[in-house]
């Protein structure tokens, strides 16, 4: 019977119920979208890094695993690295960011292709210095096709080919042009080495370290991929915690307000229940159950909405990837439920403590 009362109470004020459910849902969506974006984008970078086909990566001294946008190494190093005993192929790239989430990469197309082995869905390798290639995902996002003009670093480029994603960057430009346009002539950002045999990756890393000394961060690709985790990205974890904290406050306030107005509105009804012999715990239980229903339905709505945000983010110009993080469903729902229940405690106690006689005379 108490459950029926809970449901009828929620149905009695459909707009308030819907708004509260939406607010709880948004709270869950906010958490799931942020976590899905963090993990999705990092996983996407991982996949694309593995797709380069390299076994070892050499990055500039003092560089972090994430966020590289400079070219401090000499391109002459590539030839030196190619001579290491167990290196089969060596190539390099120059990295520049277009915005917070997207970057473009300059490469020597033939050399890079030998390692990465591009597979084109349209067009092919550039033949001229004003041509670039982009991946299918980026092409769809920007609605561009082979032969179209695309502006990067204030220059119009012709799209020569659209390749299957997973080859490092999403946009590849001619290295020489990028070096010149960014005043980095003769400079590169990353060196990629392919070992003669995959099991020699560690050996190649050791050889490179011996040659370059300890100041250069040198990783096998698998080591580098393992660094692409939420824990390793500076500020991502604190940022997630801040968003979770804000969502708790948000959920708490919304439910607090909703339940507070519900209690004020139902003063007389609470008096009736008390006259019928309902204890303060019984009254509190009704409100907490109502809140739990709002929290659970809101969480389910929030989870469903996450599929919507994923669809919207796919259309964003930035190269963001959101995945559905199933592990976080119970966590985000739990957070929303706890915040909602906390929000219901004060209104619930107010209701439970209400004087029955005053409540019964409330107009």
């Amino acid at each position: 019977m108490i459950n029926r009362l809970v449901v009828e109470n929620l149905k009695h004020r459909p707009v308030r119920t819907l708004l509260t459910i939406s607010a709880v849902g948004l709270q869950v969506t906010m958490i799931l979208t942020l976590v899905g974006l963090s993990e999705g984008t990092l996983k996407d970078i991982q996949t694309r890094t593995r797709g380069i086909g390299a076994d070892v990566m050499i990055r500039p001294p003092n560089s972090s695993a994430i966020g590289l946008s400079s070219a401090p190494m000499s391109e002459k190093m590539v030839a030196k690295m190619a001579q290491l005993p167990h290196v089969a192929l060596a190539t390099s790239s120059i990295e520049q960011s277009t915005d917070l989430f997207a970057r473009y990469t300059g490469v020597n197309f033939d050399e890079y292709n030998r390692m990465a082995e591009f597979r084109f869905v349209a067009g092919g390798m550039p033949k001229n210095d004003d041509e670039i290639i982009i991946d299918e995902y980026y092409a769809k996002q920007h609605n561009v096709h082979v032969g179209d003009t695309f502006n990067v670093i204030n220059t119009n480029w012709k799209i020569a080919g659209i390749f299957e994603p997973g080859k490092g960057a999403r946009i590849f430009l001619p290295m020489r042009a990028v070096q010149e346009k960014t005043s980095n002539t003769g400079k590169i950002s990353i060196i990629y080495l392919k070992a003669d045999r995959p099991e020699n990756a560690q050996l190649v890393k050791t050889e490179a370290k011996q040659l370059l000394g300890p100041t250069y961060p040198i990783y096998t690709i698998e080591e580098f991929a393992s660094l692409l985790s939420v824990d390793q990205v500076p500020l991502l974890k604190p940022f997630t915690h801040v968003v979770i904290g804000l969502s708790i406050v948000f959920g708490f306030l919304v439910v607090f307000l909703s339940m507070y107005t519900a209690v004020l509105e139902r003063t007389r009804e609470i008096g009736i229940l008390k006259a019928l012999g309902a204890s303060p715990v019984y009254i509190l239980t009704i409100l907490l159950r109502e809140t739990a229903v709002l929290g659970i339905v809101g969480s389910i709505a929030g989870i469903i909405l996450t599929y919507g945000t994923r669809a919207v983010i796919t259309k964003f110009p930035a190269s963001l990837t959101q995945i559905i993080v199933y592990d976080w469903w119970p966590i985000a729902s739990g957070i929303a439920l706890v915040a909602a229940l906390l929000g219901a405690v004060y209104p619930g106690l107010k209701a439970a403590r209400q004087d029955a006689i005053e409540a019964l005379t409330y107009e």
């Binding site: 019977m1 108490i2 009362l5 009828e8 009804e269 229940l273 006259a275 019928l276 012999g277 309902a278």
Partner: protein, 224 residues
Amino acid sequence: MSNLIISIRDLKKSFRVGEVDVHALRGVDLDVAPGEFLSIVGPSGSGKSTLFNILGGLTPPTSGSVFINSKDLLAMSDADRTNLRKEEIGFVFQKYNLLPTLDAAGNINIARAIAGKNGEWDPEFKELIRLLGIANRLHHKPRALSGGEQQRVAIARALVNHPAILLADEPTGNLDTENSDIVLRLLKDLNERLGQTILMITHNPEAAAYGHRMVHIRDGRIVG
């Protein structure tokens, strides 16, 4: 005292309204036998509602002695008074006080649920529903019921747990003459058929005449 369902001696009740002490009851003595239909008549401010609230366990007495079904109200904690409302008392209010979100059956069943009872209504109660003439109105919400129907649902709710005492506070105060007569006749009928003890507070002498006995209250005292 053992053959009385209510025994009140020198009952006093004072409370503070703002900065003023109000002496609502100034020494009430009253005995009620089981199965009695007692009308308590008095003007506004006479203390009849305070008496109703004390007997219903909604507020504690200040001093004196009040026994309901041999239970001492003065010795009761808040929780004890909550149990008293649940087990011994059924309320009928002037404004019906049905929960607007539940239908008539829901309003009756919530009283049962609070008392920890579930399942089907017993045959005796089903007969009562028939007697009250609300059998075909059980799935309507209060807003779809007339005042008279709402009050009859409220009577059913008050009696669903078979309380020792039915307290009715101006049960016809919001009803027209026709519906007032129906409700009062029903109360009398219930008293006679079921032996239900009823205390009815009213300021209407015609309504009070339905009881076996009438007591008058004025300025916080029983005056006759």
